[in-house]
Symmetry: C2
Subunit: 237 residues, 2 copies
């Protein structure tokens, strides 16, 4: 490993550089949730924070975020993931008691999966967005920024791809949008718009008996979505 402990000297002072990951998940029961780890080391030992850690000299910030996420939560982000996006750099002078540390924050949307603590993280857990505990460092600011960004992104990117199970119903999809945007839609209009986008397909024929009040299952048409993304599409709500 190229990052063995040693002594590194520079002519000018340098900040330490970390990455942090704001990972959103979703299920019907808890609504929108966020993934946190319990810190196993000082500072803020025992406090909850976003998974993340120091940048190594031979990896990009992107790679660092993925690595730290996997080490601390066992969650690995496939290259497929639509939304591993850079959220921004947080560079407040006093944001870390250890000294000058800047962080590059990322955020991603995933299907909620089992997570377990590891490495510097004593534990890893999903928290419903309404029940997030006090956070270490300036992570509350980072969370607010991520939520704001998510609300913007949802207008342009089909977030369901990443947050929902492979097949889902229209009411579920609507519930997802409503819980992120904190608004309510008329269900007929919502379904109409979604279907008109052409990125959904019904997963099975409705049983012959045409039962009505059991929802139809859909899945996303990945190919169709890719086409539309290339052409540049927009979701309006």
């Amino acid at each position: 490993m190229s990052d063995e402990k040693g002594v590194y000297t520079y002519a000018y002072p340098r900040p330490a550089v970390t990455t942090d990951c704001v990972i959103f998940g979703y299920d019907i029961k808890d609504g929108l949730s966020v993934l946190l780890v319990e810190r196993g080391l000082e500072p803020y030992k025992g406090c909850w924070a976003f998974p993340g850690g120091f940048l190594k000299m031979d990896e990009t910030a992107d790679a660092c975020a993925r690595r730290e996420l996997e080490e601390e939560t066992s969650l690995s982000l496939g290259e497929e993931s639509n939304l591993l996006a850079q959220l921004g750099c947080f560079s407040g002078v006093d944001r870390d008691p250890r000294g000058r540390v800047i962080t590059i924050a990322y955020y991603a949307l995933v299907r909620k999966a089992e997570v377990r603590g590891g490495d510097d993280a004593r534990a890893a857990r999903w928290f419903p967005i309404q029940a997030v505990p006090q956070l270490a460092f300036d992570h509350e600011l980072i969370l607010r920024t991520a939520l704001k960004r998510l609300k913007e992104d949802i207008h342009f990117k089909p977030v369901g791809f990443d947050l929902l199970p492979a097949t889902f119903t229209m009411p579920q999809l609507q519930n997802l949008y409503e819980s992120i945007l904190e608004v309510h839609f008329d269900r007929r209009n919502f379904a109409g718009k979604m279907l008109k986008l052409g990125i959904l397909e019904a997963t099975g024929e409705r049983p012959a008996g045409t039962p009505r009040s059991i929802p139809v299952s859909y899945r996303f048409k990945r190919d169709r979505y890719r086409e539309m993304k290339a052409a540049g599409f927009k979701l309006e709500f």
Copy 2:
């Protein structure tokens, strides 16, 4: 100054951290332009690049970007500027021949003003966006990213505030939008939409003789714009 040359040692290696500024300007003659400086030092000495430089230990990235911009181009960004936005962190492992250097890129829109080189910059100049020379480091990637971002932002923010002179005509405003988005609009529809937003006001009465083919001058209503921004508005094109 806290950043005197000396020897700074750390237990783990650290990347150097810089900021770079992508500054867009606009005038009728050249259309959209970007501000570059000619590097006075190695590496890439004599090559054109974005103004920027190393982060000091007692300043945020934001402050660093503003400081370096002023030092190298004599351009100072008022706090009023709507669009000094973080563009993202560029962290390619080999992006700087001096070693590991990551940069936090910013971008801003300003009224084109006289600029002069200073500090590490031998010269500073505006380049029309179609005539940008070869750039140092990975600055071509940064420029592409900034242009993409600008095209997105224009849908939500009244970029004219920052790019146009205090008073301007409707054809000028339209020309600005057309040169950023690289499309053409019907002028009646464009004017109609713009006026309906309610953020413009005619600056003077049309002379009594009602001459037709001399454009009406407008100015932005800053107060009205602030209100709308708080309520969250959207420009469609």
